[in-house]
Symmetry: C2
Subunit: 474 residues, 2 copies
Amino acid sequence: MFKKSAFSAFLLALLLCMSASVSLAQMMNKQASEEDLDREMIQTLFVTALSEGEAYKNLEYLCLKIGPRLSGSKGAEKAVAWTKKVMEDYGFDKVYLQDVMVPHWERGAKEEVSVISDGKKLMELSALAIGGSIATPPNGIEAEVVEVYSLEEVEELGRAGIEGKIVFYARAFQQKVIHTGAGYGGAVDQRSAGASKAAEFGAVGIVIRSVASNFDDNPHTGALRYRDDVPKIPAAALGVQSAMKLQEQLKKSPGTKLKMKINSKWFEDAPSHNVVGEIRGSEFPDEIIVVGGHIDSWDVSQGAHDDGAGCMQSIEVLRLFKEIGYKPKRTIRAVMFMNEENGLRGGLKYAELAVKNNEKHILALESDAGGFSPRGFGLSAPDAFIEKSRSWLPLFDPNTIVFFSKGGGGADIGPLHRETGTPMAGLSVDSQRMFDLHHAPTDNFDTVNQRELHLGAAAMASYVYLVDKYGGAE
Amino acid sequence: MFKKSAFSAFLLALLLCMSASVSLAQMMNKQASEEDLDREMIQTLFVTALSEGEAYKNLEYLCLKIGPRLSGSKGAEKAVAWTKKVMEDYGFDKVYLQDVMVPHWERGAKEEVSVISDGKKLMELSALAIGGSIATPPNGIEAEVVEVYSLEEVEELGRAGIEGKIVFYARAFQQKVIHTGAGYGGAVDQRSAGASKAAEFGAVGIVIRSVASNFDDNPHTGALRYRDDVPKIPAAALGVQSAMKLQEQLKKSPGTKLKMKINSKWFEDAPSHNVVGEIRGSEFPDEIIVVGGHIDSWDVSQGAHDDGAGCMQSIEVLRLFKEIGYKPKRTIRAVMFMNEENGLRGGLKYAELAVKNNEKHILALESDAGGFSPRGFGLSAPDAFIEKSRSWLPLFDPNTIVFFSKGGGGADIGPLHRETGTPMAGLSVDSQRMFDLHHAPTDNFDTVNQRELHLGAAAMASYVYLVDKYGGAE
């Protein structure tokens, strides 16, 4: 039996306990019903994208009617005008251009790389000038080849081993890693820094084994960076099969020469544009969520996965919201960044204007890993932001988004992230096929799967919806 | 201060507590180190598969040197002999055949489905006889078309609407679902049961819109099931574009006729084989883990994804173990099942022999969803088995296996599962591209990505390794 005071205390405790339970239950119900709503909204976004998505047909137009669009080219300007019109036709609240000056390099007539043995042309290799390479003299250059597997090996060979020669960087794409982004990262230094490293020791040119995950003979271009402290020398990428043929030839005849002819030309910087379309937020119009891709591409393909896909998905995010009647609280912007491939001027300009205009961005999301099936998001953001994002994982079908990992984002949104601290995210997709065609003549519309592209758009829209609804982590 | 007895009790508790902590720590260390070992082993399997895998080159041989292999065909028997030799050459402990009689149907000369309008041939449609269809008379049949969207609609139209006509099943693949297996399931009844349903009401033939996730004009074949209580009528699948053209034509001219000519033939059952290769278990040789695919394919393609991929992956699982020097405790069997496509006789025979020989299987794993990037496993197994499998998820890279879901397995291992209660699992892959080419003339080697195929093999090997090491749930 209780004493009276003890009994009162017991009753009080019981009441407190009950009322706590009630409000906890209410809270849990509320949370459950919000979760149901979110699940339903995400379901709607996926169903709409899969059954009535328009990113694929838009990408078809971009690839087949406009095609290659390297910065400074007519294709790039056509793509600017067309994406602006597409977003206007969808009735976005505001569509506008941001002026930006971009580098302007042209490949010129088809390049040539041939194996010369005993003074005669033995075979022509499948080759593309690396983007930004200077031209050779009109008749080309001819020099002995020295095969290396790393930039360090060039340093070890030194002037004695390198001077007057063409350096052949033969290191292969790293097959053993699961995510091909890392395999690419393990070989791409040859393309980006190989020319100047070789020039440092007196080389007259370089060729590289293409940074490619497959074994066909399509050469893969991409950008190089010339250092200011050494001469600029011409640079070309060989198809993987051609690189392997050259390796065999060098085993047989170590003194083999290469002939290289590159007909590229650098022009004055050209005027160009980022294209911005936005839906104005209903509650917090000054808080901005950016979703984007880059509208420029290399000159040798339609730039379907890199990055027509990301651009069309970004427009699709806004279109999906309009289609299903979702009115975002915050301002959602689709941005077609210009010049990711060889300068990043669009990304830099966007960040510069954001700072100048004192804009508040709460998330920047980029899709630039190809229009393949989505698997997750990579985030460069405060831990609390990442944790909050992870709490939304149960809302996604396990065949779509299964991780929010630390690290990642996108080249174009990098400057904004660095200048303003805006959390940035990159759509992480099934990466296995990207580097079969990345920067190669094969990155065309026929390699894109409609459903995969639309799943990516739906995943992006779902994440933007959640960040729009719940805000970033404070 | 403590009384002496209380102090003793305290000391005893302290000691117990400490010793418990020590053994708990030991146990946790042991668990951690086992987990490290497992992680390392799985890493090794993935690295080996990605950098030195042989499934892709084996699949190349199967597709390009052997090609189509419908049950009863010469191709099927060549594939039996060749896969036996492959496994023998790899030095598996035991390689043998299981005799099984299989159905033998041949397509004959190219079929024809044409639109007849005003007595004249308006256009020929892209078509394939559905597998197992009887032939038309040599000159074909000609009849008015009636368009329906379901088997139920045939019943509603009844004899008055159906008799003497060709029924056109026009229901499309369900695009809105994320996993295409479900989209396929939502339309395939037209192919499998449509003919007999139409025959029930007096139809003279059927055509269907191919059960395809994309929008090209390749017809997709597959099996039908004739009921015994109604006449057998000829059946063909139209390419999606052709089906849409027919729909348009029927809108314009409701009385449009079709001409159908199918030249197929049924033969006596033919002798054939399952092919079995095994590595004998070092500790529990009588406990068997089966990993398999089906070696037969439809006759119109190389059967690359369906299911050359699964067969080559299954062989690769055993080869990977040998390659890395892992000696399984249990017996691991790779089985090339015969006749999944139009009879399942191989799967039935395998189960029959397992029962007859009183074999103890602890897991049957099938890969028959295509050689695409792995995403998970679907399990038909007791809850405890599924839970145990799920406890291994943290061992996998999130770009590979992220779920063990309830439900799933494979057609070929289904009979074993049903007869013996053996837990069965199916490799679940990124499903977006499978039904673009499933049963179509396009299911060829050129659509297979080497890395995706090898990731699937590594995922299977990893799961088999874990079940081999830890056993099934008791």
